[in-house]
């Protein structure tokens, strides 16, 4: 009989372990994406001074998209610019709440090709914050970034895309459940 008990408790532990493993996949996935640049995920704010700035010229394309049903106006000042590796650059984005209700939004960046994502350093970015806008309010926010001189030689242009999400409802539920 006790051998049966032993089997059951081992298998039960394995079940619990695999349940936890399912959740562990979330951070594993994030780490994996960061290493491989999968999905063009971009890391948090970094600031670096480069000794050897390389002096290559890179073309940057800026795109903005509104997620399904998001009514705000959202665009960058320019859609393209040429930058030098290792130098600080500035671009600015306009957000307008076109509705008659206060709303909260969050812009999520993505860099392509994915392989270049880890060389796209943002030193100041609205993507680290949520935007709260009153009805009709409009703001312009700067984005500061540096392109790493180590950017692989086969990449001569990068695209930075932002998708704007309406997270008003999520913020409400979060506050409600706190």
């Amino acid at each position: 009989m006790s051998s049966i008990k032993k089997s059951v408790s081992k298998l039960f532990l394995a079940t619990v372990g695999m349940f936890l493993f399912g959740f562990a996949l979330v951070p594993i996935y994030d780490v994996f994406c960061e290493i491989t640049g999968l999905n063009g995920k971009v890391t948090g704010p970094t600031f670096s001074e480069y000794e050897d700035i390389g002096n290559r010229e890179i073309k940057i394309t800026f795109t903005t998209t509104n997620n399904n049903g998001m009514p705000w106006f959202f665009d960058s000042d320019r859609s393209q610019m040429k930058v030098k590796t290792g130098e600080q650059n500035l671009m600015s984005y306009v957000f307008t709440n076109t509705t008659d209700k206060p709303m909260i939004a969050q812009a999520i960046p993505s860099v392509s090709p994915g392989k270049g994502a880890q060389y796209f350093h943002k030193t100041e970015c609205f993507c680290f914050e949520q935007q709260y806008l009153e009805p009709g309010e409009s703001i312009s926010i700067p984005l500061k970034f540096v392109i790493d001189p180590d950017l692989p030689a086969d990449i001569s242009s990068l695209a930075l895309g932002y998708t704007l999400f309406d997270i008003t409802k999520d913020q409400m539920t979060k506050q409600a459940s706190n």
Binding site: S3, I4, S7, V8, L11, F12, A14, T15, V16, G17, M18, F19, L20, F21, G22, F23, L25, V26, Y29, C33, T36, G37, L38, N39, N67, Q106, I108, G114, K115, T163, F165, D166, I167, D170, Q171, T173, K174, S177
Partner: protein, 533 residues
């Protein structure tokens, strides 16, 4: 030797309780096996009815009889029911009936848990089906329930769906713990692992797969629940999560899951082919190793379902080659079945017909799988009817045919009555023709670009779709004939002998037909010459 067993049973003979309580409270593996099998049979007709609605809608292009919203609910619930309500419970039912008898054990190791595993299953499907009558309608996001379709854009009933999936998962996990514990601890003396019947082997490995991946599925639906109700952002891009993560987690479960639905079939077909070839299975050891390696490989191929999400090239290549690797052990099995039949004294009773059809048609599904495994080609095939053709070939003339074959093969043992051979063969030929009529043309429309999961389609696909629908109606009707054959055997069948099939090997055939309510209360003596299965 069987006389010794029966003599012993008479000492403490007690039969089943009477009435409905027999079924509610039963802890007997044979009763529970029957419950699972009947449950699965009923769900087959419910899921089948949904397939008929789908095929009626697709009979002609244009919007015919149901709304697109209801069509999506049909597709979703058809898939969920067939996977979790038909194929899996049927295999668990077979495991309950057969494993104790094949290893010479008196019952399953955990009989009360066994009762619970079964009875929560009708509850889960009751909840799922009840969503049809709730506000917002039943789940409509496909059986793969990709986020955000199943989170941000889901009908409110998604919460009931999550609850139902949790219960189904719990049922499978408890069932698997029971199977493994039984096999590891309760084999008759002398039955070493490498002497176990192949059905037992296939279920042992399947149960490990279930324990490895059902909890991950439970985790995935729990994350959905939290995203929907508690403001977390596992899969919400707006909150820093990632919908692609859902697909990784789902397919980490999902791919082993598709092997869960085929490994027991490998065991069944091996038994049937050796019986009607009157030869022991060719390459027993390699059969075991093939099942084990398929199971191990199934953990590293999941992203072949997501070639198009935008993976790095190294990822595409890894998942492409690892997927192709699975074809090797699968091929080993197919060749072993063919070698078993080679120069055997073959007869073609109904179970054998279904088993041979399994080998042939499952292989077609494996070949289309190989085509899908080629990443660049999959960019074209993905989300078309070609994928639908692929997985229906492995699941219908694959998994389902193996279950039907098993029912024909063991029904005389379970009930003590033979089925009508002529009717059985009629059922086979109708099923064989109609299953190909249904699923083969799907390859063509898929390659021509017809997307899956749509209620309407372009004119150029009309002819093939009409053929497919006719085949589907015929296949549906043929399964009513199956029900008739089973009922006829139970009520009017001729008495079956204990041996039933001339060439059958294995402990279950040493018992009477039907076997006593309690069997092998003292283990059989294998050294005294009982062969392995």
């Amino acid at each position: 030797m069987s006389a010794v067993i029966e003599g012993h049973q008479d000492d403490h003979h007690h039969g089943p309780a009477k009435g409905i309580t027999r079924w509610l409270y039963t802890t007997n593996h044979k009763d529970i096996g029957s419950l699972y099998l009947w449950f699965s049979f009923i769900m087959l007709f419910i899921g089948g009815a949904m397939a008929m609605v789908i095929r009626a809608e697709l009979f002609e292009p244009g919007s015919q009889i149901v709304s697109p919203e209801f069509y999506n609910q049909m597709v979703t619930n058809h898939g969920l029911i067939m996977v979790f309500g038909v194929i899996m419970p049927a295999f668990v039912g077979l495991a309950n009936w057969l494993i104790p008898m094949q290893i010479g054990a008196p019952d399953m190791a955990l009989p009360r848990l066994n009762n619970l595993s079964f009875w929560i299953l009708p509850a889960a499907f009751g909840v799922l089906l009840a969503t049809f009558f709730m506000e917002g309608g039943a789940p409509n996001f496909g059986w793969t329930f990709y986020a955000p379709l199943s989170t941000e854009y889901a009908p409110p009933t998604v919460t009931y769906f999550i609850f139902a999936v949790h219960i189904m998962g719990a049922s499978s996990i408890m069932g698997s713990i029971n199977v493994i514990t039984t096999i590891l601890n309760m084999r008759a003396p002398g039955m070493t692992l490498m002497k176990m019947p192949l059905f037992v082997w296939s279920w042992l490995i399947t149960a490990y797969l279930l324990i490895a991946v059902m909890p991950v599925l439970a985790g995935a639906v729990t994350m959905m629940l939290m995203d929907i109700h508690f403001g977390t952002s596992f899969f919400k891009a707006g909150g820093g999560g990632d919908p692609v993560l859902f697909q990784h987690i789902f397919w980490f479960f999902g791919h082993p899951e598709v092997y869960i639905m085929i490994l027991p079939a490998f065991g069944i077909v091996s038994h049937i082919i050796e019986t009607f070839s009157r030869k022991p299975i060719f390459g027993y050891d390699s059969m075991v190793y093939a099942i084990a390696s398929i199971a191990l490989l199934s953990f590293v191929v999941w992203a072949h379902h997501m070639f198009t999400v935008g993976m790095p090239i190294a990822g595409e290549l890894f998942f492409m080659y690892s997927t192709m690797l699975i074809a090797i052990p699968t091929g080993v099995k197919v060749f072993n079945w063919l070698s078993t039949m080679f120069k055997g004294s073959l007869t073609f009773e109904t179970p054998m017909l279904f088993a041979i059809a399994f080998v042939a048609l499952f292989t077609i599904g494996g070949l289309s799988g190989l085509m899908l495994a080629i990443a660049p080609a999959d960019f074209q095939y993905h989300d078309t009817y070609f994928v639908v053709a692929h997985f229906h070939y492995v699941l219908v003339p694959g998994a389902l045919f193996s279950i039907i074959a098993a029912v024909y093969y063991w029904l005389p043992k379970w009930t003590g009555y033979m089925y009508d051979e002529f009717m059985g063969k009629t059922h086979f030929w109708l099923s064989f023709v109609s299953v190909n009529l249904t699923f083969f043309p799907m390859h063509f429309v898929g390659l021509a670009g017809m997307p899956r999961r749509i209620p309407d389609y372009a004119m150029q696909f009309a002819d093939y779709n009409m053929i497919v629908s006719v085949g589907a109606f015929l296949f549906g009707l043929s399964q009513l004939l199956f029900l008739y054959v089973v009922l006829k055997a139970i009520f009017y069948g001729k008495k079956a002998t204990g041996q039933v099939w001339e060439g059958a090997q294995g402990l279950e055939w040493t018992l009477d037909s039907p076997p006593a309510y309690h069997t092998f209360e003292t283990p059989p003596n294998l050294e005294a010459g009982e062969a392995k299965g």
